[in-house]
């Protein structure tokens, strides 16, 4: 059992990171910390994918031209992680932009307080 745990250490690390991110997302009322939680979740998935692509003794998939072909790691997860990172950057940017707007309007980063103030303000009906 302990051997299995050591063998799968990267996956287990990814799971722990994911849980920490999820708990942060749920439990912290602070928006910036929520964003950090989301980023942790994303990062854990990238760790998971990157670990999945590794092959014992494999090299980075930059093909050497020549006769002998060494073992390479699987290039597919690398590509998926690349895509995932770009997507994560994009959502984080949007998240931060919304947070900026909220802070300018309600002068707080605490989501509970923002919700309260938003509820109290008179609705302007878009006029």
């Amino acid at each position: 059992m302990a051997e299995l745990f050591i063998q799968q250490r990267f996956y287990i690390g990814a799971v722990l990171l994911f849980t920490i991110g999820l708990a942060t997302l749920f439990l912290h009322p602070n928006l910036i910390k929520k964003i950090i939680g989301l980023n942790l979740m994303d990062t854990s998935v990238f760790l998971f994918l990157a670990a999945m692509g590794y092959i014992e003794g494999g090299r980075a998939p930059i093909v050497t031209l020549g006769s002998e072909t060494p073992a390479y790691i699987n290039p597919v997860p690398g590509g998926l992680v690349l895509t995932g990172i770009v997507v994560a950057v994009s959502t984080t940017a949007l998240f931060l932009a919304l947070t900026c707007r909220l802070y300018r309007k309600y002068h707080s980063l605490n989501l509970d307080i923002i919700l309260m103030r938003a509820k109290e303000e008179k609705e302007d009906h878009g006029q």
């Binding site: 287990i12 990814a14 749920f26 998939p61 690398g78 770009v86 300018r104 707080s108 008179k122």
Partner: protein, 341 residues
């Protein structure tokens, strides 16, 4: 009243108290977080009315009813001591269980911890039975990845198998990915750009920043361009090189100041550049999708693998992606660093 610009003042007060021999933290509970206190009062207000649905417009409804004279005046108008007034004006006959809302919130916390733990246990169960780490016979090592590695050089002209994969084999994903970035940039512009407001921050004037920045800026830029141009030959490519390029742009904005940067690279032009590159990307990929799917031929010559001009569209695609990413990073920086209204 909620603005935080009183923070230095607050620190100064604490310092003065400390200097006068008092305990600086004595009224901390009150002074530290007035927002928290306000929120707790609000919770008690909802609590006393049993308005447990957080999403609903209870307060507004209450105000409307008040305006029509149905109920007693709103406790908020009386200012201080909200919760006391509320509990008096409570509609008789309602069950009032104090602290119910707070216990609900506690329940929410316990439930979220529970969900997180369940998630963790499930995923641990999953990863322990998954193919072992580093296993060369894992299911993921199959004919798909083999072809990328073995025939990739021949079929795409790229030495870097990842670049060959994302820009040629699975190029539609990557086009979607650039579109995600573009969509995010446009959304941030929509949210944060104010047309009438000139970007008028000066350079910091910091001597160390200026000298060191000038020293490393050319290196950063050169490295970014190198990574982009050699994307199909060595590790890197449009996305990573573009990020380096974006960092270079941000650094130069720090050195020169935004107003001079705005003359060099107006934000309008940056947006246009992004749009043109993404369009060029779309047109090139559209061409290759169309000809590939209809088996028309008209292939782009692949060149000799290993040379800089090889791999058909890979080099121009990498340049486009690099410019898109660099411009987007710089756009994010300018918008987030913009002054508050």
């Amino acid at each position: 009243m909620m603005k935080h610009d009183g923070k230095p003042q607050h620190l100064f007060d604490r310092f003065m108290r400390w200097a006068e021999g008092e305990d600086p933290n004595q009224d901390r509970e009150v002074a530290e977080d007035p927002e928290r206190a306000e929120f707790i009062e609000y919770l008690e207000y909802i609590d006393s009315h049993e308005f447990l649905d957080f999403g609903a417009y209870r307060l507004m409804r209450y105000r409307e009813r008040k305006a029509k004279g149905i109920t007693q005046p709103l406790p908020h108008s009386s200012g201080q001591g909200q919760s006391v007034v509320i509990s008096q004006s409570r509609i008789p006959g309602r069950r009032y269980r104090p602290g119910r809302l707070r216990s609900l919130i506690r329940l929410y916390r316990i439930a979220s911890i529970f969900v997180a733990i369940v998630m963790m246990v499930t995923l641990l169960g999953v990863v322990l039975v998954m193919p072992q780490f580093g296993d060369p016979d894992a299911p993921a090592v199959n004919e798909v990845s083999e072809r990328y590695l073995e025939q990739g050089v021949e079929e795409t002209g790229a030495i870097n198998a990842v670049t060959g994969m994302i820009l040629d084999y699975r190029a539609f994903d990557t086009f979607g990915e650039s579109t995600v970035l573009f969509a995010a940039a446009m959304s941030v512009i929509l949210l944060l750009r104010h047309p009438g407001r000139p970007a008028a921050t000066e350079g910091s004037g910091d001597l160390i920043l200026h000298r060191m920045g000038m020293l490393i800026l050319p290196a950063v830029m050169m490295f970014g361009i190198y990574v982009i141009l050699n994307g199909h030959l060595s590790p890197g490519g449009g996305f990573s090189g573009g990020t380096v390029l974006g960092c270079g742009l941000i650094l130069s904005a720090l050195i020169l100041g935004r107003s001079r940067m705005e003359i060099l690279l107006p934000s309008k032009r940056i947006t246009k550049l992004t749009v043109i590159c993404l369009l060029a990307y779309g047109v090139m990929k559209g061409y290759s999708f169309f000809t590939g799917a209809n088996h028309i031929g008209w292939d782009i010559p692949k060149g000799t693998p290993g040379a800089i001009f090889s791999g058909g569209f890979l080099l121009p695609l990498n340049i486009c992606v690099g410019i898109i990413v660099g411009c987007t990073m710089y756009t994010f920086y300018t918008l987030f660093a913009g002054k508050e209204e």
